[in-house]
């Protein structure tokens, strides 16, 4: 044990002497969450809407006003013919257009279905689908408000919607917890990814090998100081989420901190495993970058909902710790739930950490022989 204490002290000195690097490591997640908290959003507002209205009337004007008043749309152009839309879409002046049929007003009065066309720039299909849904909602609301004559009552079902957990639907409330997961995991994995390969490359590994340290002691000695750095980042990022982005923390803060610590540990263990299995820093780095960066953006549920993915991808997402921490962070922060709901996610992360640490100790062991 005293050997382990010695190693811990040595690693600690490494970090303490290189204050600049330590500061960078702690601050990197904070700065990134700050930057991307403003960038990663999917709120749709200020939709640039063009209107094609060949025969303006009170009716079409009323519907146009509905769009203007919805708060999401901004009418940028009003043109008489559909062909005039072409240049507007090409250069991006308009994202969406509503096209009234020439006989729209008469048809509506007569009870013949009045024709209305919604054209959406779907270059980006996800936003396209959202825009389309919003525009349809506006028209349907308008339709609901149309007077039905007393002789023939229409049936109307009024949907009363409540958005739970994030009533204002601000995407920062969703993405800031997700960003924490994303940034913390990659930085933690990178920190340990090259710790062993570097010793191998610079030749100091042999010194470690001839020391009385056991493999697990070496791994623990390497991981512990970074765990402290990671925990400092977790604390700062949480403060930032609360103060800068006003993300609510409805659940238990100690629990959130504990989960954060566990999550950093998994990521450090993953970096450690890569480091123990590769021979050069270059390969270790590429390995970490390729296995963490895109999968953590795309498969963690941080931006794109897991429910929408094909079943195979959902299976793959089980091995991505980010997936579990995103659920935990959003659960504690937005839903205010505790371990009674999150025990499965927590157990999973803890289990993954154990497996990864055991695997890195083991493969380190193999190297010894």
């Amino acid at each position: 044990m005293s050997a382990l204490r010695g190693l811990l002290r040595k690693e600690w000195f490494h970090i303490k002497r290189d204050r600049r690097t330590a500061t960078v490591l702690v601050m990197l997640p904070v700065v990134q969450v700050l930057l991307f908290g403003y960038a990663i959003r999917t709120d749709v507002d200020n939709v640039r809407l063009a209107v094609v209205d060949p025969a303006p009337s009170n009716t079409t004007l009323a519907l146009r006003n509905r769009f203007a008043a919805a708060g999401v749309f901004r009418i940028v152009a009003s043109v008489p013919r559909t062909e005039d839309l072409e240049p507007l879409f090409q250069n991006g002046t308009a994202q969406q257009a509503i096209v009234f049929d020439h006989d729209f007003t008469e048809d509506l009065g007569r009870g013949t279905p009045a024709q209305l066309l919604i054209i959406t720039d779907a270059t980006e299909p996800n936003t396209g689908a959202l825009l389309q849904a919003y525009a349809q909602a506006v028209i349907q609301q308008y339709q609901l408000a149309l007077p039905a004559s007393p002789a023939r009552p229409a049936s109307i079902i009024v949907p009363v919607t409540r958005i739970r957990f994030n009533p204002t639907r601000e995407s920062k409330n969703l993405f800031v917890p997700g960003l924490m997961a994303f940034v913390l995991t990659i930085i933690s994995a990178l920190m340990t990814a090259i710790s062993l390969t570097r010793e191998k490359e610079t030749g100091t590994m042999e010194a470690l090998l001839v020391s009385p340290l056991r493999p697990w002691e070496i791994i623990v000695g390497k991981v512990t100081p970074y765990l402290a750095i990671g925990f400092a980042s977790v604390l700062l990022v949480l403060v930032e989420a609360r103060l800068v982005f006003n993300v609510p923390v409805r659940g238990s803060i100690p629990l959130l901190l504990f989960e954060g610590l566990l999550y950093v540990l998994v990521s450090l263990a993953f970096g450690m495993l890569i480091s123990s299995r590769t021979s050069s820093q270059r390969i270790a780095m590429m390995g970490v970058f390729l296995t963490t960066l895109l999968p953590n953006i795309l498969l963690s549920g941080f931006i794109f909902p897991l429910e929408s993915m094909p079943a195979i991808l959902r299976w793959i997402s089980y091995v991505i710790p980010g997936r579990w921490f995103v659920a935990i962070a959003r659960g504690i922060m937005l839903k205010g739930i505790g371990l009674e709901y999150l025990w499965r996610e927590t157990l999973y992360i803890a289990g993954l950490a154990t497996v990864l640490l055991a695997a890195s100790i083991r493969s380190f062991h193999e190297r010894l022989e």
């Binding site: 299909p125 349907q140 039905a148 957990f165 995407s171 570097r198």
Partner: protein
């Protein structure tokens, strides 16, 4: 020329001989392209919902049937318990709870108006919005069909109705893969191009072999060209492979000119490897190179409009994205592949890329000199 060739050859050998590195640079990215392109969607399919039907009438069953029939929703639970619904919303096993109150049918028949409550799990973000609007549509259409059934005799007495048709420009089927494949391909090219070149010179510094190169008669320009050329070519190979996969596996449309795309890619890759070179000239160790590249690549990817729309970003971030080369290259490649844009349409973003390339390379070369001197 010969010196450049020998040095570049050495670099190529370094990569080719290292089996793992070769697999990492060629195979892993292509696997990622294949797999991850399927992930990035807000499409709504089989969204789990719970229906709490307190009415149990013909009208309420109609609502349930309509919700079940359209393919967007998967009714996983019909327990008439609000507590259960709340539980399920909390543990995330449903995305929406639909509550049909007592007297739904009575109210619908007597007054013509009846409420239905939709509780949507806001944790699901954009898809919550889409789920909500789909559910609303289903309800309104169902109400419409009820009205139609009641007044089928007299055509003049039909209620006012609007028939909505929708059309999507540029990506008619709203296939998000057409959109994501070029984006992810660019992301992978950038990660590999910038990271490998950043790490490369930092490694020579760390190992001390950079000093040996500095005392050889090779000039600075030759050295840099020789160092960057292999990664630049590698990037173009990635692009070719990726496009092939895009075409064969995902069937993405290639409306525009492929040579034009490669021409732009050549300039873009000069930026990517140039940034890598710049980083490696600034740092001392591979570790530092890694963290700086990580920082830059993250900004590149997350502030490029690749995953979330630029229109939704905070105003100041939107201005920042103007200097992001990834943004411009993604815009260009999507314009060429999907809209069939020609040189005239892409001129503006292309000139920005070209300007960035010249700027980055000049700065990087200057930075390198300072270090070597």
């Amino acid at each position: 020329m010969r010196q450049i060739f020998f040095l570049a050859q050495a670099e190529v050998l370094h990569i080719v001989r290292d089996r793992i590195l070769l697999a990492q640079t060629l195979i892993v990215p292509m696997v990622q392209l294949l797999v991850l392109s399927n992930a990035a969607t807000f499409e709504i399919r089989n969204t789990p919902i719970q229906i709490i039907d307190f009415d149990r009438s013909a009208a309420s069953r109609g609502v349930v049937n309509h919700l079940a029939a359209n393919g967007y929703f998967d009714i996983v639970d019909t327990t008439p318990s609000l507590a259960r619904a709340n539980e399920r919303l909390l543990d995330g096993s449903i995305t929406m709870a639909v509550v049909i109150p007592h007297d739904f049918e009575v109210s619908l028949v007597k007054t013509g108006v009846a409420p239905v409550e939709l509780s949507v799990n806001g944790e699901k973000g954009s898809s919550a919005g889409i789920v909500q609007s789909y559910a609303t549509s289903v309800l309104i259409n169902y109400a419409k069909s009820l009205s139609a059934g009641r007044v089928l005799s007299d055509p003049a007495s039909r209620p006012a109705q609007i028939e909505i048709r929708t059309r999507s420009r540029y990506n008619a089927t709203q296939n998000y893969k057409f959109y994501m494949v070029p984006g992810i391909l660019v992301a992978l090219m950038t990660i590999i191009g910038s990271l490998l070149s950043a790490q490369n010179i930092a490694r020579e510094k760390e190992l001390g072999t950079l000093e040996q190169l500095n005392v050889t008669p090779i000039t600075r320009g030759q050295f840099i060209i020789a160092k960057l050329l292999p990664f630049w070519v590698l990037g173009l190979i990635e692009l070719a492979l990726g496009l092939l996969i895009g075409k064969l596996v995902f069937g993405i449309p290639m409306v525009g000119s492929i040579p034009l795309l490669f021409g732009v890619a050549a300039v873009y890759l000069a930026v990517a490897v140039g940034i890598g070179l710049w980083v490696s000239a600034m740092v001392e160790t591979q570790q530092q190179a890694m963290f700086v590249t990580f920082f830059i690549v993250n900004i590149y990817l997350l502030m490029s409009g690749l995953f979330t729309p630029i229109d939704s970003m905070a105003p100041w971030v939107q201005s920042v994205t103007l200097v992001n080369p990834v943004r411009h290259f993604v815009t260009i490649s999507r314009a060429i592949l999907m809209k069939g844009a020609g040189p005239a349409e892409i001129a503006q973003p292309f000139l920005i890329l070209l300007g960035t390339a010249v700027f980055v390379l000049i700065v990087a070369v200057n930075q390198y000199r300072k270090r070597a001197a």
